[in-house]
């Protein structure tokens, strides 16, 4: 029997079991499960009153905090699919995503959208409702749009809406960079996310006494899995959105007495380099998790050898397309397998395959192919991109790897031309397209180069039009105006010509050697 449940039921069950337990803390704000449940019911009630129905898409644009979480579960309670947008995106990008998703409503915060709300609304013709904490008098919005502010939400009943939902209903669309440069919407059903949540709980052995300090945004798949796993067990999530000041975060981990902390490789690189994270005794920490890209074996070793033995370090691997988790390295095997992504998580098959679909021999390199209940349905409205990664045998990850004799997988390269800057998958093509808009750019090529902190840093190579007098600053400034900060090339180099093969294809490897 299928005993998985819809994602909002995770909150409802925990609210029924432990209504007074704290679910989320953010600065001075602290919400109990019953309070979060009530607030998400009110948001759901608003959306229902406005005619939002099962199957609709509703966008969510908010920093991590109680508002995000209440909005997320409120959207799901209507039977709608949550399209969480990245606040670091430029408005131009979020406009594209709103339009692409066909969102009928937007749940957001005034501080988040500021003067850009009219642009966001104008970009999404299907949008008829905005739920927001407060309204700025300067916003001029079309008549089709109704704005509900905090007082309107507070006036709605907090009783639980009983909307039937199926496990195979869409739960979330998460936009991620695609190789074409256009963001792709990863579509995940309740089944996908519920299965992945259960799979993660099985190896982390979480329970209601567990808690995490999250510096990872909930719109990002790793952050989302922190949220869902802790809500599922009735645990506590402490939000800290200011990792830019890591010393404060380290103090917060200690003072909030969380049992775990999660980060991407650059998180740990910064903690190790610029805080006393490795020197503190951490009496409350039970474990750390790391995902979102490959952490260098030397940093893994340093963490393992410096932190107290009783703190488990879970190295994990996944993709947004898998909800996201695919593999874990059991902590007791870490010291013999530094650099491996480990073994498949329970309920997931992870095979290394040859191009003909046959499984590779031990230590033979092939593409990593994943299958399980957690694998996405495809990319939103994009059957062509979907057909490039989803096959009868599962999700073709685009990662090349090998399996050792113990069954542990080691990644060696990528099939696709993507840059992993920090934990962000960045499309070289997207940046190239933005740079190509700059007057005086004749040709451009963007690559990722090894970087101690970020894993890969972005570098742009530009062939200027003769006599254009083009300067690097002009290009970077244009990127800053049109791309999220993490997508701006760190350096711009000018060349007379790009290195190409006989068929005219740019030889990125040669550029990497030169940089």
């Amino acid at each position: 029997m299928d005993d998985l449940q819809s994602i909002h039921r995770l909150l409802e069950h925990s609210a029924d079991r432990t209504p007074d337990a704290t679910v989320i803390e953010h600065g001075e704000q602290r919400l109990a499960y019953a309070e979060l449940e009530a607030e998400s019911n009110r948001i759901a009630g608003c959306l229902i009153e406005r005619g939002v129905v099962r199957g609709d898409r509703v966008a969510l644009l908010a920093d991590n905090g109680p508002q995000y979480v209440a909005g997320f579960f409120g959207i799901l309670k209507v039977g709608a699919c949550c399209v969480a947008l990245n606040g670091a995106n430029k408005t131009r990008t979020n406009c594209l995503l709103l339009e692409d998703s066909g969102a009928v409503a937007l749940v957001t915060r005034a501080l988040q959208v500021r003067s850009d709300l009219p642009d966001l609304v104008a970009a999404s013709p299907a949008l008829h409702t905005v739920v927001i904490d407060r309204v700025a008098p300067s916003w001029s919005l079309p008549d089709r749009v109704t704005v509900l502010a905090a007082a309107d939400v507070a006036a709605v009943t907090d009783s639980r809406p009983e909307i039937p939902s199926e496990l195979d209903d869409l739960c979330a669309i998460i936009y991620t960079s695609g190789s074409t440069g256009k963001p792709r919407g990863v579509t995940l059903t309740h089944r996908n996310l519920a299965a992945n949540t259960r799979q993660i709980l099985a190896y982390l052995e979480l329970n209601a006494d567990d808690s995490v300090l999250s510096v990872l945004p909930f719109h990002y798949s790793f952050g989302k899995s922190l949220l869902l796993t802790h809500v599922a067990v009735g645990g506590r999530i402490v939000v800290d959105n200011r990792f830019a000041y890591p010393a404060n975060v380290v103090d917060n981990i200690e003072q909030s007495r969380v049992t775990s902390f999660s980060g991407v490789p650059s998180t740990y690189a910064i903690l190790a380099a610029r805080t006393d994270f490795l020197e503190r005794p951490w009496p409350d920490l039970r474990y750390l998790t790391q995902a979102g890209g490959a952490m260098s074996p030397s940093l893994q070793r340093r963490l393992r050898e410096t932190l107290p033995d009783r703190i488990d370090l879970f190295v994990m691997y996944g993709q947004t397309e898998a909800g996201p988790r695919l593999s874990w390295l059991p902590p007791e095997r870490l010291a013999e397998k530094y650099g491996s992504i480990g073994i498949p998580i329970p309920g997931v098959s992870l095979l290394v395959k040859r191009p003909d679909g046959a499984e590779c021999d031990v230590d033979e390199v092939g593409e990593v192919v994943a299958s399980g209940d957690n694998i996405m349905q495809g990319y939103w409205n994009d059957p062509e991109e979907t057909a490039e990664v989803l096959f009868d045998d599962g999700l073709h990850t685009g990662d090349l790897g090998r399996r050792d004799a113990d069954g542990f997988i080691w990644l060696v390269d990528r099939v696709k031309n993507m840059i992993k800057a920090g934990a962000n998958r960045v499309s070289a093509k997207e940046i190239e397209e933005v740079i190509a808009e700059v007057d005086g750019v004749q040709e451009v090529c963007v690559i990722g180069v090894a970087d101690e902190l970020l894993g890969e840093a972005i570098e742009a190579f530009v062939v200027p039009r003769p006599g254009s007098g083009l300067e690097a600053n002009t290009i970077q400034q244009h990127c800053r105006e049109n791309l999220a900060l993490y997508k701006i090339p760190r350096t711009v180099q000018f060349l007379d010509a790009l290195p190409k093969n006989s068929s005219g294809k740019v030889l990125k490897k040669e550029l990497r050697l030169d940089s």
Partner: protein
């Protein structure tokens, strides 16, 4: 170039690529206004350590020292006075 000008010029050059307009005043938060992110803060620290020869302690990486032009100028001034 005095201290204030030097710090401001670094921010404008490295994070705004020469465009002064987003930096509306010297008290505004660099982080909250999207001028830098967490990687940018690390670059800023490397700049202060390199160009001013400051030894910056981990516990000094706080917004009160680093999150605006004014805070940066005050921080560097205090560090130089204590040196």
């Amino acid at each position: 170039m005095d201290l204030h000008e030097k710090i401001k010029a670094y921010i404008v050059e490295n994070f705004l690529f020469g465009d002064l307009e987003p930096l509306k005043d010297d008290a505004m938060s660099l982080l909250d206004n999207g001028i830098i992110d967490s990687t940018g803060v690390m670059e800023l620290v490397a700049f202060l350590e390199g160009d001013f020869g400051l030894g910056i302690e981990d516990e000094e990486l706080v917004p009160e020292n680093l999150d605006s032009v004014d805070n940066l100028v005050g921080f560097v001034t205090r560090k130089q006075a204590a040196a």
